[in-house]
């Protein structure tokens, strides 16, 4: 069967089971947009290519399947660089297709030419510049294989316009042996010696902690993790990237570690004698000052990517494996720590003394952002998906929401990309239309990508956005307040400009506003009754509210600052 390169590209995506492409056309990718008309694949037309990338990420995080985005060459391609970098940092499986100028024009500074494979070399797991139409099926199959296996990540395919216009004989690789990836070995056999060494360390441990990272979600380790944790009674912490990998309601769960982590989670790591890292990478937002991090701990490091071993923290045992297989093996080998009663007693006193805290709102004052999140949570069905932007609101969302299952937290971790929330929520809802999807957003973040609500309305993707409108780039304001002597530089945004309600309405969404506790409850109820169009709520929150606990950048985790109301009685 003879097909054009463009037809072969779309047919290849169909072969890979793609159900939705997020994209926006232009000159170089034009040929590929023609066969989309006849394809079973849904195309979501975004308003900015950054939106397409974050939607694909949100889709991937909520469904576990790779997200697909398609854009044109030059500025279309550069507009999606931020989401690619974001997906690279968070190991999110993406396949990004970019148009390119015709092969003969490459290197001539042709109209809308840009070296996107060069630009994205360091922020993709791999990328391809296609040279002929015949190569398209193999490149697409390889891209999906690479994006989804081993340590997942974004893969970019750059397709010149003449390639999509020329003819090819249709074929499709029937196995990974045909992908021509002689150097790609995503998984290695489990090292039985390493498992045995790990078991020995666990058996001797009196104060162990299971430090669970994003890799646990990537390998869908939740069942094995729960079984192992419950049998061994070890305390569990889940990083920002792992929220949902272990139920927040579980009594062994201490919550999130790190800069804005729970006191008990942070302190348990500091005091532990064995840190079992499961798909986590000792990010500086978790470790604080590395030399002071978990100073008494031996470390067992489980990761599918061997380059993570001893990168930040020296470990005693390394297990190169996906989290599911490693945890199953440790469990099957009967690894059992010492009696943990004393350890748990200590942990419980930290939990009791230093819970999450914020000042009770006064009746006439502005809303407490933490309370807004608690109210939305209380009014939400189990399994509700939460996306967020980056800033204080993100930390509060991670702290105050209760994540009970994988795929419910859609967030930008490693890159901290403001503006991620709205498009990511749209992507998540496109992938899980059965779920309610809330975006807990900041006023600053919302202004970066809000135009995608037009996409959401046009495409019938009814997400709900809660703007925690504190009139500031709040997280930066917090740092200026605490570390720059309250010298506020370029962080004020103005709660009334833009008018978020009118803006929402202009984009075809329902716009609501709440200033008081009563209004807050009322608008959340209204929002939950609307299921056909997106809803945006402007919650007026107190600008002075800060995120606690907090470990200052570069400080030791021992110097964690709790909420002022909890200080002093030591």
């Amino acid at each position: 069967m003879q097909l054009t390169g463009a037809q072969a590209l779309i047919k290849s995506l169909e072969q890979e089971g793609v159900e939705v492409i997020f994209g926006l056309p232009g000159g170089a990718i034009l040929p590929v947009y023609d066969p989309i008309i006849d394809s079973s694949i849904r195309h979501v037309l975004v308003r900015h290519e950054q939106g397409a990338g974050h939607m694909a990420e949100g889709y991937a995080l909520a469904t576990g399947r790779p997200g697909v985005a398609m854009v044109t060459s030059g500025p279309g391609a550069t507009n999606i660089v931020t989401p690619i970098a974001n997906a690279h940092m968070d190991s999110t499986p993406l396949v990004v297709i970019t148009g390119q100028v015709a092969t003969a024009a490459i290197g001539t500074d042709a109209f809308q030419e840009c070296d996107i494979t060069g630009i994205t070399m360091g922020i993709t797991k791999h990328n391809f510049l296609i040279q002929s139409a015949q190569e398209i099926p193999r490149a697409v199959a390889a891209a999906f294989h690479l994006a989804t296996t081993g340590r997942p990540g974004p893969v970019l395919i750059d397709v010149p316009k003449d390639v999509t216009q020329s003819m090819m004989d249709w074929w499709y690789p029937s196995s990974i042996d045909e992908l021509d990836l002689p150097g790609y070995r995503p998984e290695v056999p489990l090292d039985a010696d390493a498992i045995n060494e790990a078991v020995t360390l666990i058996n001797a441990a009196e104060r162990p902690v299971l430090y669970v990272g994003g890799g646990a979600l990537k390998s869908r380790a939740e069942r094995e993790l729960l079984a192992f944790a419950e049998r061994t009674k070890m305390p569990v912490v889940t990083t920002l990237m792992a929220r949902g990998a272990f139920p927040d309601s579980h009594e062994q769960h201490l919550g999130m570690p790190g800069m804005h982590g729970m006191y008990a989670a942070v302190t348990a790591i500091q005091k532990c004698d064995l840190l079992i890292s499961l798909g986590a990478r000792f990010d500086d937002r978790v470790t604080g000052k590395v030399s002071a991090f978990a100073p008494h701990a031996k470390v067992i490091h489980v990761d599918i990517d061997r380059a993570e071993f001893n990168k930040v923290r020296e470990s005693q045992v390394t297990i190169q494996s996906n989290v599911t297989a490693a945890v199953s093996a440790l469990d099957a080998a009967g690894a059992t720590p010492q009696n943990l009663e004393v350890w748990w007693k200590e942990i419980r006193t930290w939990q009791e003394r230093y819970p999450l805290a914020y000042d009770e709102p006064s009746d006439d004052g502005l809303l407490r952002p933490q309370r807004v999140i608690e109210e939305i949570l209380a009014a939400s069905a189990p399994g509700t998906i939460v996306a967020s932007g980056v800033g204080q609101h993100q930390m509060w969302a991670s702290q105050y929401w209760k994540f009970e299952e994988p795929g419910t937290w859609v967030n930008s971790g490693g890159a901290g990309t403001m503006g991620f929330g709205v498009p990511a929520a749209i992507g998540a809802k496109a992938g899980r239309p059965d779920k309610t999807v809330w975006c807990i957003d900041g006023d600053g973040c919302f202004q970066m990508t809000a135009q995608e609500l037009v996409t959401a309305r046009a495409e019938g993707i009814p997400i709900k956005v809660a703007i925690l409108n504190n009139a500031y780039l709040g997280m930066v304001r917090q740092w200026q307040e605490m570390f720059y002597e309250e010298r506020y530089s370029e962080v004020y945004l103005n709660a009334d400009l833009p008018d978020y309600v009118k803006w929402a309405e202009a984009m075809g969404c329902v716009g609501l506003r709440a200033r008081t506790m009563d209004e807050m409850k009322d608008v959340i109820r209204q929002a939950n009754e609307i299921n056909d169009v997106p809803v945006v709520i402007d919650f007026r929150t107190d600008s002075s509210e800060k995120v606690f606990p907090m470990v200052a950048a570069g400080a030791s985790n021992d110097d964690i600052m709790v909420h002022p109301s909890l200080r002093g009685e030591n």
């Binding site: 070399m121 360091g122 797991k125 791999h126 002689p182 150097g183 990517d305 380059a307 001893n310 990168k311």
Partner: protein
């Protein structure tokens, strides 16, 4: 005060260097991927040589001399393996490797200086590969140290044009490369 310009390492042989022999797919952009990785991660390269690998057109071999002070070797190797086009890496400690390098130099000469120069060439075991009335071009295939010494010996001549290829290496016979050794 402006900082003094950095003129590069004083010798070509770093104190704690390691030789990585990296088998890569022979595809467009692979060298850029490898070089980009080193730049991005702050790993220092002392020299790099690329050529088609034995027998296969599908693969090339990149011999990289890395500064094992700039990053732990484990990190460098781990990150390299993540490049999809990297097929295999063998890492050689200098003591386990046979290292060779090629040096070419064109030296201006006249009747007076020619005899002395011939002595220098002879002592170094270099060979004359080209001559005209005012120059000789010599070649030395030798150890990196030998090339260093020869380069130093040529310093007293004005207007020398000198190129070195960077080293290539193979395991010394009888000593397995480190990556294949049993971990103790």
């Amino acid at each position: 005060m402006a900082p003094e310009p950095y003129l590069g390492p004083e010798t070509h042989t770093p104190v704690r260097h390691h030789i990585l022999s990296v088998l890569v797919e022979n595809k467009a952009g692979v060298l850029a991927r490898v070089a980009g990785l080193f730049a991005r991660r702050g790993f220092n390269i002392y020299s790099l040589a690329v050529a088609p690998a034995e027998l296969h057109e599908r693969f090339s071999r990149i011999t990289i001399v890395v500064d094992a002070e700039s990053a732990p070797l484990e990190q460098i190797v781990g990150q390299l393996y993540k490049l999809v086009n990297v097929v295999d890496i063998s890492d050689l400690a200098p003591s386990d490797a046979v290292e060779r390098e090629l040096l070419l130099a064109t030296i201006p000469t006249n009747v007076d200086s020619r005899t002395g120069l011939l002595d220098v060439i002879g002592e170094a075991n270099a060979a004359i590969v080209d001559v005209d009335a005012h120059h000789v071009t010599v070649m030395l295939a030798g150890t990196p140290h030998g090339c260093d010494a020869f380069e130093k010996a040529l310093e007293s001549y004005e207007g020398v044009e000198l190129h070195r290829t960077g080293r290539v290496a193979l395991p010394r016979l009888g000593t397995p490369p480190e990556s294949e050794k049993d971990p103790e």
